[in-house]
Structures are given as C-alpha cells and as structure tokens.
Amino acid sequence: MSDFPARVEALRQPLLRFARAQLRNDAWAEDAVSDTLLAALEKPQAFGGQSQLKTWLVGILKHKVIDQLRRHTREATVLSRDDDEDLDEQLFAPDGHWRQMPQDWGDPEGQLRQRQFFEVLEACVTQLPPTQGRVFMMREWLELSGDEICKELAISSTNLWVLLHRARLRLRDCLQDRWFSAPGATP
C-alpha cells in the first residue's frame, strides 16, 4: 500500500478531465479533484482493491462534483446568450414538419467501436453552452433523475426539460456535421 499516494496522484489528470467535462469550469473542477484526492488519501483502507482504483476514485469524485454544483448553483445555472437560439425554428417549418429529413445514422455498434467517434462526441459535448452541458452531464454521467437535478440546481422542471431539449438537439446537430456528414464518414 506504500505506493498508494503515487497511484492516486497519477490519476489526477483523467479525474480532472472527467470533472471538467461535467462542471465546465476549471477552478471548480480543480477543487472537486483535490477534494477527491484528499478524501482518498485520508481513508486508503476504504479502497478494498476489489475494483480498479480509478473506478473507486470516480465514485468519490461524483459526490464532489455535486458538492461543487451545489456550492455554485447560481453561477452554474446562468444562461448564456446562445442558449436562447431557437433550434426548433431551424428544424421545423411553421406547420410543424421537419424542414429536412433526419439522416439514418446506421448501426450504433459499428460506430461505437471507433475511437475517433468518441473524440468527436467529447468535442461536441464540450461545445454545448455551459449550463446545457452541465445539466446534460448530470443526467447522462451522474445519472441523476430530473427531480434530483432540479433540486440540486434550484431550477424548475420546465427549465430542465428546455435545457436538455436544446442540449440534445445541439449534440445531434454537431454529431451530424462532424461525424456523420464528415468526409470519410463510415456509416
């Protein structure tokens, strides 16, 4: 166990990347990771060794990420100006029909075996306006329920639905542009 601190410290970068993806704020991400490393180093015996060290640390980090969101609720839920863009307007004609037929994205299994796909996915998630990105990651990575997210961020469920609606439409657009319509795309 004497190499425990070194092994924990070695995981700082992947943990930071994880925290940044969720928090969209470098200072909060640093704090969440520092809290995680401290908690781990204070209670090394809590790591049973039955799971991977990283998996165990990520488990702690998720709680620290939520702590940060709680602490910074007000800033975490600020809507940036591009949150207002009416994406529905771009997608649908006034009669409610699609302006353009959605593309068939093909077989997920095949796409999800490709490493480059995840680079594009990460880039697309990172491009979401911060508040949209946060709630989207709370849902997808922290696996919080809608009610839990509303409670943590002190927003209404209608706000949440709108944020997630926009986040998913943006993500879809970005994947369409940067992966499915990209030259040399494989689907």
């Binding site: 990347r17 998996t55 029909h97 796409q111 995840f118 639905w161």
Partner: protein
C-alpha cells in the same frame, strides 16, 4: 380523439421521454405518430444512439484508462 400532433410536438415528447416518464396518453400519441411518419422514427433512433454513445463514453471515462485517455 385529440388532433394529431405535429413532428415538432412529437420530437419534444421523444426528448422529454429521456428525462421523465411520459403519460400513457403521450406514449400513445408518440406510437401513433411513428406509424405514419418517416422522419420521426429516425429522430427517435438518433436519440437512442446518443444515449448509447454517452453510456459507452462514460464507461471508458470511469473505468480502465488503458482503453482511452
């Protein structure tokens, strides 16, 4: 019977279904629409695809760092 929902309405319901349990009436509306529409089923598959992709990415990010940085 209520008037048929537009693709725009159905898209909203499909996305809300990712956050909350749709009511029985809403699920029926979505199902009925999917029968008569070529575009919305594709959109629905895209939404499922994104959910699956996020899950796979998350598993990479949380687990073995030999699989991906």
């Amino acid at each position: 019977m209520k008037p048929m929902k537009s693709c725009r309405d159905i898209t909203r319901l499909v996305l809300e279904g990712e956050v909350r349990q749709l009511s029985l009436a809403e699920r029926v509306q979505v199902r009925l629409h999917m029968w008569i529409c070529a575009a919305c089923p594709r959109f629905q598959r895209q939404v499922r695809f994104m959910r699956q992709a996020m899950g796979t990415w998350k598993a990479y990010a949380e687990g073995d760092d030999t699989s991906r940085g």
